[in-house]
Amino acid sequence: MTPSSSQAAVASGVRATPILSTAGVRVEFAGRGRRRAVATAVDGVNLDIAPGEIVALVGESGCGKTTLARTMLGLERPTSGVVRFAGQPLSYRSRALRGYRRSVQLVLQDPTGSLNPRHTVYEAIAEGVRIHRLDNEEARVADALARCGLRPPERFFQRYPHELSGGQRQRVVIAGALVLEPSVLVADEPVASLDASVRGEILSLLLRLRDELGLAALVVTHDLGLAWNIADRLAVMYLGRIVEVGTPEQVFADPRHPYTRALMSVLPESPIEPIVLAGEPPDPTRIPPGCRFHPRCPELASGAAAGAGVAERCTSVALPVLPAAGPAQGQVSCHLAQAVSRD
């Protein structure tokens, strides 16, 4: 898929065959500790990533976004549901998984921790090449470094991670992922550990890679500003489910889910009156019945839901999982929003 055509496709809203998608994925973790309850980190998610598309997955800690990302990478097996790459379901046999690694790669949050302190930059990037027994190792490493803005690449070959700055380390990590020529990059908080003035550079790099290589990306973050900066589409997750999807313009300008609205309202310079939710994100071992957000929902608490006649449903009727492809105006999983849109 050439870069320009993928961008055009995204721009026109045409949904090409997704390069990476999940269908009804649920991931449960066996209970630990005294209660031995099962934690449902991901509770049914349909998410598509089109070729060359950057999707931001936002949510608070514990909402399951990292687990979902790892499942899409094949590092976790879903308890139920299917992850598909280019239409084909993932096979979890070791040889097939290894081949999959050439298509979907990972960039972690902490660039310092992601690099083995005993390996040089060259070795860190060449690791992928060697594991997959690719040829032309030196040329590939140099090319990846150059693409990530570390020029001239040879000067960086023998450096150790602790001799580089945070931004440079993250570039090395991205180069290490790029060297396998993936189609999708999964980035978990790619700029959270970096200095503020350096964040923009790394985000620009991701955009540039999308433009030059047609690289799609799933960016997991709790930072909405990041999504505004680079995302084509945005999915808001809460307690294992996606509760709202749309383009950043749609979601930010007109958040329809009460949770999204609360998140937007507490951002600095927000035009909405701040709605500060009380309490902590709930426990994935104790998912509330009905709409999982209802215990903290300001609409329910204020009576707005009752006013629209859906209060009963909020506490008892579970919401269906949002489909991966929906109307162009974005989707939301909320009884109140659905009631309102029906009128």
Partner: protein, 325 residues
């Protein structure tokens, strides 16, 4: 408008001076240069620990003595047949440390004892370290996999380790000596078998810690298999701990050998310091040559202390780097 010079701040970050331009620099040559620089740095740090240096010098002397034994003391001196001096006499000009019960020069025995004791110590430790490292790394690696099979492997290996941890080495040595016949080989075997478990536990603990680090996750994401993860990532990061632990183990091994030989489980023909101690103890040293008892005893203490000092110095040098990285 001046162009921003990117990356200036890294100038102060201690990048190494690259070799001046000459023949094309391959990654291999640069890697060698870096390794040399790293070793030089390590040596400089180690030199600063005075006690460690003392230990190192003592060890160097001991090892030199052991290696040069054939040169320093004629091996004929070990054979009681050729012993002509008066047995069990104190130090004299002819025999600097006196003679033993058979008239052999204690000095000769001491020098050859160094060779044998150190040989047993090193060999037994090598066995112990190899087994311990293997078990520790494999158990630690598979123990961190969430899958059932991984934890099972870890559990199994650890139960076996536990068993070896509690096996009492003295009865085992005696039984083996009885069945196979007393020899240095038996001692090496026994010590090796009874000391690897401690190393395995320490290595496993470190391996578990390393497994939680993000670069292991990255390796998995890149497609690395178990062998690659263990060999390229876990093992190198476990090495420093292993090295320091090994040096300390040698000290323990030598003491263990001394004990076993003292009890007569060693090879009576190839003397070790333990042998000397045992023989001196049971052959009326009180009335004769006290140096026969003192010399090997002091030698053991000195060597063990030297190894301990070096081991601790190693830990001190390697540890802050370990944490700093």
């Amino acid at each position: 408008m001046s162009a921003p010079a990117a990356g200036t701040s890294t100038a102060g970050r201690g990048g190494p001076a690259l070799p001046p331009s000459g023949p094309p620099l391959t990654p291999r040559r640069l890697a060698q240069a870096r390794r040399k620089a790293a070793l030089a740095r390590f040596w400089r740090e180690f030199r600063r620990d005075r006690r460690g240096m003392v230990g190192l010098i003592v060890l160097a002397v001991m090892i030199a003595v052991a290696l040069l034994a054939p040169v320093l003391a004629n091996s004929r001196g070990l054979n009681p047949i050729y012993a002509t001096a008066t047995p069990n006499t104190g130090p004299s000009l002819h025999d600097l440390l006196g003679t033993d019960n058979d008239g052999r020069s204690v000095l000769t025995l001491l020098i050859w004892g160094a060779r044998n004791s150190l040989l047993v110590g090193f060999t037994a430790t090598l066995i112990s370290m190899l087994i311990g490292a293997l078990v520790g790394v494999v158990a630690g690696h598979f123990g961190s996999i969430r899958a059932r099979a991984g934890r099972l492997t870890d559990n199994l290996m650890m139960r076996v380790t536990d068993w070896f941890l509690v096996v009492p080495f003295l009865p085992l040595a005696m039984v083996l000596a009885r069945t196979i016949g007393p020899s240095l080989g038996v001692i090496i075997l026994v010590i090796g078998l009874t000391s690897w478990a401690g190393t395995a536990r320490i290595v496993r603990a470190q391996a578990l810690a390393v497994e939680t680090r993000p670069y292991l996750e990255r390796a998995k994401a890149l497609g690395a298999g178990h062998w690659h993860q263990m060999y390229r990532h876990v093992l190198p990061n476990v090495m420093p701990l292993l090295l320091a632990n090994t040096i300390l183990t040698v000290a323990g091994t030598i003491l263990a050998e001394t004990t076993l030989s003292f009890l007569g489980l060693g090879d009576p023909i190839r003397p070790t310091w333990g042998e000397m101690l045992g023989a001196a103890y049971s052959n009326g040293v009180g009335t004769g040559n006290i140096v026969w008892l003192l010399a090997p005893g002091i030698a053991v203490i000195v060597v063990v202390m030297a190894f301990t000092l070096v081991g601790h110095a190693l830990e001190a040098v390697l540890d802050p780097k370990l944490r700093g990285r």
